[in-house]
Subunit: 292 residues, 4 copies
């Protein structure tokens, strides 16, 4: 018999992930601060909890997919927070993107409740979330992660074991740093080519024909072609991730010259008011800097 | 009946490309400054010219795949240079990597001879050269490029039309800028992850599972794993290309913040004596900067 | 009659500053974690408190010149911390370098005690501290700062009013950012000139003869000439300040491209183990990067 | 008896410098492409040559203060160019700002004429040019420079011997790199402080009171205060100098991370159309980047 699952946070990502858990046959209870977002899942058969604590009391495995530390703090330790209902029979999986440092602090605090804790942020955005093809970056006790794998694989195509608690978040930063550099690099190169008189489609064709071709370039090129940047991965989130990277690198002593430039460039876009667009709007930063 | 082809420059790339032309049935004459490099092609049936001028006199289409402007200048306008044998019945295809500016200067000078001129650098390194699967970035009159396509496709899988003369070189810079940013970014991310306690294979697995996966990462990861960097694309050449990019961007007004950082990082490696290793040796620069 | 002053922290800076207060005729009580550092001041006539709390009980104006947030937290809120003895008759002046954010958090916490609070970090290092010629960057209520000016001027030649509490720290970051950029720029230029064949003294002469001449260049040039970097301002502290700048800029939206490069360069030096040398040891980073 | 001097180029700098030579009692002949600029000097008693060649024929020491390589090439080797009148009795002093590489090429070409050649660019802008207080950065044979010192000191307060021909230009790049970094750093710091709530005058006061104080900050602060940037040193010239620096550093292997950032920042301003304003207009770039 499948474990009862509670899901906190039903945004673009969380809503799609919770639906996939439900479709896989797990008894599911959900909660979202804005109650209306629970309705589609209720119609699919999920229970709806009035607050995080009731959700935690009624389930065994509690998953959070929230916007950041503030939302997590509120859901766990705020009024009617979930943590007060945690005990050694409960497992908490944080899939929200937060820094490794915050994750380790959260782990220390949760240890007092006796609940098992896994950090499991994801690589992938809206579409993989809907298709259940996310890559799940899991940190925590290896045997616990193996035990949870069937549940995790309802949301993703793969679980990558990243190390102890906090290392899932570390891996998330690693991959988002690469994502950010590739996105900004792609935009810089296309703008450089444009000002050098190259045709946009010919440039894409050259990228697609060679060893640098990555799936993301096809997807993001569509945004650039249409000059329309609906958020699959919000610009301001990558700006925040770049800051996490710089903070973490400062502590570990890792040189991140390209990462620092990334932070600079994404901050320029946030300053121009483009924070809610897609990360591919970095193309607008490049064009803006060139003044033409 | 196929046109007679002359091939100047039989290095790692040129030797493999010339062999593919010969295999496709073109009558071929070759020349290389170091004569010994002509022998394998002579054994395959190619004629060997004693100097560039004799090669140009005896053929209709002359292709150059040389190391840079100095070698090109010597082959074209030096003693027994090819240009003196050019006329309106000859076609010259430069496949060497040079800057758009140099290409346009060369075009102006060659115009006096009456010969047709195409610039057609390639995307791809040793292996695609051997397999005839290069991507050929062609600039020049469109109808002339179409006419030459069968010949070009003996060396490559695809010809991309990039615009007038010089735009092949421009496209080459575009794609090498992207290559350089991705390579340096990959190295920076892996070093950042290493110092953050992540496992090398888990990081590669994360890259390979997501939208950032590009064929080059698989190939270059092998070098990093073995800490061995045999040159498929020499480090110093990418350093030179990064300088071309900065020069060209200065003229066109394109902002290239990541490209400038690339130049800085690759110059550091050249300063350490790693210029003849592969571009993936940028991993050593990152480790070196981190001091551990 | 002069107010009774308590001084916490008798390092290179604090020891010299406390001595100047004493020389100006203020009744002074001191405390330092390592008790031996109190001896010179005791010999000059200062009282010695066994812990911060006794010091705060026995004095009206309490000054801290400590190494950072951890030391401040310990001195204020640790066992026998000073804050427990604060009330509306006490004034606390923090002259230690900390971030504006930490200063504002400290202010909020101290507000509960009723004590007045001024943040007053200094511009200047060892020598100006000894000579009483520091520049004092004061944040807090303007009339309170005016009232304290005679005391502050025993340590410095000038008090600059910077705004409300936290703005003294903000000004300190402003001036240390300029200091860092000028120091790193000076080192970069001298290394650039060296590799271009210029004579060290001729370069200094050129700087000294023109509009770029600043007193710091004379002082720091001596270190570079001797290749000896005894810490007047420790390298690792500037690295920490650069991180404060990047953090603050992230919050305010200020672009700090040179500041980010500064952070990168100083981190490289810390990674090489030069954190305890003077900030002028950035010259070693430049030479090291150039590989010769 | 004083040598006859010819002066080519009567712009803001050249006009003031030529006037100082004349005031010192040297027989002077001048030439400027736009003839009207010769008039003030003619009124002061200078002869006016119809072209560079006549000027060179009629004088012994020929000085050029032109806008760059193109103007120099035209004046020396164009129609009625000066070089055709050079011989072993003539001395040519180039005071225009050009790259060391161009200077060395010019030297090689001039060697054929037998004329002595000195490169002597200046540190200082409009006002020092008028007051005769420039710093003259001289490269060439040391005894020749000593011989010319009385003449040079009519224009400047000091002659600094920089090494062989080309090293005057190298020193000029060294000092302009420092100038550029300090100017951009000053602007970055002031913008950082502004967004952090600091008062402009309080920031200036802090700079002026400490070891970072340099004369240029007082002068340039006036522009920033008035938000008016009349060119004492044109923005586009510093952009050009930054490119020289990056080019020279590429050849010598010097790391110039701050110099590269400088090039990037100044190029942004040129792209916005601010090339003809003063270098202090970099403040507008910083404000523009911050979007507020």
């Amino acid at each position: 018999m499948k474990a009862k699952v509670g899901f906190l946070g039903l945004g673009i990502m969380g809503g799609a992930m919770a639906a996939n858990i439900l479709r896989a046959g797990y008894p599911l209870m959900v909660h979202n601060r804005t109650a209306a977002k629970s309705e589609p899942l209720a119609e699919m058969g999920a229970g709806v909890a009035s607050d995080p604590r009731h959700l935690a009391q009624a389930t065994e495995i509690i998953i959070a997919m929230l916007t950041g530390p503030e939302a997590l703090d509120a859901c766990l330790w705020g009024p009617e927070g979930a943590a007060a209902a945690f005990n050694e029979k409960k497992t908490f999986i944080n899939m929200s993107s937060v820094s490794p440092r915050y994750t380790r602090e959260m782990a220390a605090r949760l240890a007092l409740t006796g609940a098992a804790f896994i950090d499991a942020p994801v690589s992938g955005t809206k579409k993989p979330a809907q298709e259940g093809s996310l890559v799940i970056l899991a940190g925590g006790p290896r045997e616990k992660i193996q035990e949870l794998e069937p549940l995790l694989l309802t949301m993703g195509k793969k679980v990558i074991y990243c190390g102890g608690v906090g290392q899932g978040s570390m891996m998330k930063m690693f991959i988002n740093l690469l994502l950010g550099i590739m996105m900004a690099g792609f935009a810089e190169c296309l703008n450089f080519g444009r000002l050098g008189g190259l045709d946009f489609e010919a440039m894409l064709d050259t990228v697609a024909s060679g060893a640098m071709n990555a799936p993301m370039f096809q997807v993001k090129a569509a945004n650039l072609r249409e000059q329309s940047y609906p958020a699959a991965f919000p610009f301001k989130h990558l700006s925040k991730d770049a800051k996490f990277v710089v903070d973490t690198a400062y502590e570990s002593g890792a040189p991140v010259p390209l990462g620092q430039m990334l932070l600079h460039l994404y901050r320029l876009g946030v300053a121009r008011g483009w924070g809610d667009e897609d990360i591919s709007a970095i193309a607008k930063v490049m064009e803006h800097l060139s003044g033409k």
